[in-house]
Symmetry: C2
Subunit: 482 residues, 2 copies
């Protein structure tokens, strides 16, 4: 067990909590596949909406491109094909016939979108073009799969693809994308660092890319999002040209960036505690659960009526920047209150109200909060304001703890031995001095039994490369990754 | 040309308008496939939201089941396999390997969902189970495809699947589903009739089903939605059992029902006019376009400022039952106002505001409405109320015209000859007297060169079957269908 492990045992915790809280059910009869259940889907839908609203507010438009790509189109960009040609699925027949041409099931949609971009973009007036879609994509992973985090069918792949008239505008778009993603991760309370990916780990067909990274509770680093400058490679492969103001035909400059349901898996992992889930208000399918404490007597009816009254008080009440409605559920199942408490605590509902005879009489409710597992008494007349305040506080507690964890898990080291020891004992993301040479970078990764994550562009470094002894250019970061 | 044709030529109108208004682009380099463009996707998203909200309000929960189904699972229910075994796509390999088992790309999700239902349903307490998803499904149509209406990849297939403890409860669910769909079609202003499908046309594996039908502007009938009572066939094939209150293990009773983006295609077709699209407020991506009438002089800036002011007045203003925000766009392109008028009329934006020097001075705007293509003057201080009123009126005009068309296109006939003549000259849905016998029904369909659509359950009939002369049981309806 690692000293900094947030949970007694993360992997078991993750599997248990996802199944128990009905986020997913992995008993679907196909390896590496699973069902996203209503409770999980509701959180995912909220996450998708936050992303859509952000992209829309920055002038992106949503569209839908086909899942299937004809083989000859898929093969047009050689580096891309090298990157995605392996584990990509192909449809070859129906029950009645072999297809004339094999169809590729998209692992990502560059090759579905860019033939259309070459038809849509004619003049500088058509630029910039900023389109996104939220779709299912397939990567027939042969490595170990893990629900939401590493999967064969990504069901909420949100991919943006832009085209621009100049390299400068594409660079500006990269900055905008980073700004959007920063806001997004702030909204879903995931702390991160942004790294520029070293050349040899860059997205297939791209010029360069930035990755958002965080550390999971088991100490492994995980890529949250990728922001990619594609340069003109795809423009040349797919013939995407425009007539510029100077009446010359030029290839466009492209960028793309994406996130997926992986973010939900990360949020769940970073926000929970040993007891189970802890849902932040922006993702919570239910914000308040009301548990009636019945005694099997004539007062039970009064209690239920009072519970309904309290529930109705929240009708139309909103919280947070995206004005999510506060969802209230009355749990009227025929099981003991204690079982219900335990159930909803595991499912991470931020607030529980307990209402029995005494509470109805005194018009004072017992409120239990999920962050600290403490109870307090709240007067009925203050309930709405108190709940709004406490929901905010819970979000803050959860976020603060996640940020503390993140800060602790990113460290710098003077020697390889030191870095290796750190990764072995605690995991996380470790930085060492590096000259900028690919061979040295790969050597460090090998010695650390990890991957090169990247460097922070504006971070200053002084000293020598830990491998070759030449002058260091960057603090370069490594980790064992998902 | 048929006398009742709404358009000079529907097929050309449909292709032109979908491409011109950027609903779809069918130049995607794969037969029968196309891209849903931002303007079309926005309308589709609104449609999806209306359906989701309706289903949620009736206690359904949204989930996500995998796109791929292992072959042996797909083949479990024999009638279903017969129905869907033909044109269904199969994934067989990656670039690296042949798959161990062929994977079926869902044409609909019974076989993906029901193995999970058999795990989830244990006791009568778990019932009813009412789940839906909105996903892409594939039907490798060999017939002529048509954008949104008959396609290979349905991208917004909304399918609900329910399970119940008794046949009666399943029947009740069928009634609820019909109620939901009635509300849905009212919201998107599509008139319909509901028919019970004759035995030999029933959904593969089902006990019986009802279909919502309407008539397209070319006189062809089109199925809008299907509400299906599955009985216990799938429960038996997938072993979905529950422990009832009497402590006996029983198979559940199931229903399913679905709609898709086809509804958007139908709405576009029925709502438009010879000029182009006419968007109802519940589907319109943009409700108001503001066209500044600039003169290339010092007043232009004032005009733009005033346009912005008017736009901002609508910030947060909502319309309709689903409280859709009124979306306003200022068209500031460097083309003549007349071109803009034409453009937005074709795209079906309900209201256009024209603002030039005169309007800025007099604080009186010119408002053009899309339903009647007329203009009127509106004082700035009344603009919000007037717009809300006129949007409602436009919805009403469009709906009224669609209903008149629908009424005209469903007729009853005494003789086969008469019915055939009607179908030949006008199309639509024709009713004739029928004894209830399958052979007679199929004979009528053959003679009319059409399909049996179904009968209205509560419609009275007196007289003889048009084929065998036995006593008629139903007015049976036929049509040439999509």
């Amino acid at each position: 067990m690692k000293r900094y492990d947030k949970y007694d045992e993360f992997n078991k915790w993750y599997e248990d909590v996802l199944q128990y809280a009905k986020i997913v059910d992995k008993r679907y009869p196909m390896k590496g596949s699973y069902v996203i259940m209503p409770y999980g889907f509701s959180a995912l839908k909220k996450m998708k909406n936050i992303m859509s609203k952000l992209l829309d507010s920055y002038g992106h438009e949503e569209a839908y491109f086909p899942l299937l790509v004809p083989e000859k189109i898929f093969k047009k960009e050689k580096d891309f094909l090298k990157g995605f040609g392996g584990e990509t699925l192909r449809a070859t027949k129906t029950f009645l016939q072999e297809l004339d041409e094999e169809l590729i099931i998209r692992p990502t949609s560059e090759t579905a979108m860019y033939p259309m971009y070459s038809l849509w973009i004619r003049s500088w007036r058509d630029l910039p073009l900023k389109i996104y879609q939220t779709v299912n994509v397939f990567r027939w992973e042969t490595k170990m799969t893990k629900e939401l985090l590493r999967v064969r069918e990504l069901v909420a792949f949100n991919e943006s693809h832009t085209a621009h008239a100049s390299a400068e505008e594409a660079e500006k778009q990269i900055k905008e994308a980073i700004e959007i993603y920063k806001k997004f991760f702030d909204e879903i309370r995931i702390p991160y660092d942004i790294f520029k990916t070293p050349k040899w780990e860059t997205f297939a067909g791209a010029q360069y890319n930035y990755d958002f990274f965080t550390t999971m509770p088991d100490g492994k680093a995980i890529e949250l999002a990728s922001v990619i400058n594609l340069g003109q490679k795809f423009a040349k492969a797919f013939n995407i040209k425009f007539m510029d103001k100077d009446e010359k035909k030029k290839y466009v400059y492209q960028t793309c960036y994406g996130i997926s349901e992986r973010e939900l898996g990360v949020a769940i992992s970073l926000h929970g505690d040993n007891k189970g889930l802890r849902m932040i208000s922006n993702l919570a399918p239910i914000h308040i659960v009301i548990v009636p404490i019945k005694k099997n007597n004539e007062n039970d009816k009064k209690i239920m009526i009072y519970c309904e009254k309290i529930k109705n008080m929240f009708e139309g009440t909103k919280c947070g920047k995206y004005k999510a409605e506060i969802k209230v559920k009355i749990d009227n199942r025929e099981i003991r209150p204690g079982e219900k408490y335990n159930d909803w605590e595991k499912k991470g509902v931020p607030i529980r109200l307990e209402i029995g005879e005494k509470e109805v009489k005194s018009k004072t409710l017992v409120l239990a909060r999920r962050d600290k597992l403490t109870k307090e008494k709240i007067k009925e007349k203050n309930i709405k304001e108190s709940v709004k305040k406490i929901i905010k506080e819970i979000d803050k507690t959860i976020y603060r703890e996640a940020k503390e964890w993140h800060k602790k898990m990113i460290t710098k080291h003077k020697t390889l031995k030191d870095a290796l020891k750190r990764l072995r004992n605690y995991g996380g993301i470790v930085g060492v001095k590096w000259c900028g040479d690919e061979n040295c970078g790969k050597k460090i990764a090998d010695k650390l039994l990890g991957s090169a994550i990247g460097y922070k562009e504006n971070e200053k470094v002084e000293g020598k490369c830990i491998i070759c002894g030449k002058e260091a250019k960057h603090w370069m970061y490594f980790g064992r990754t998902y």
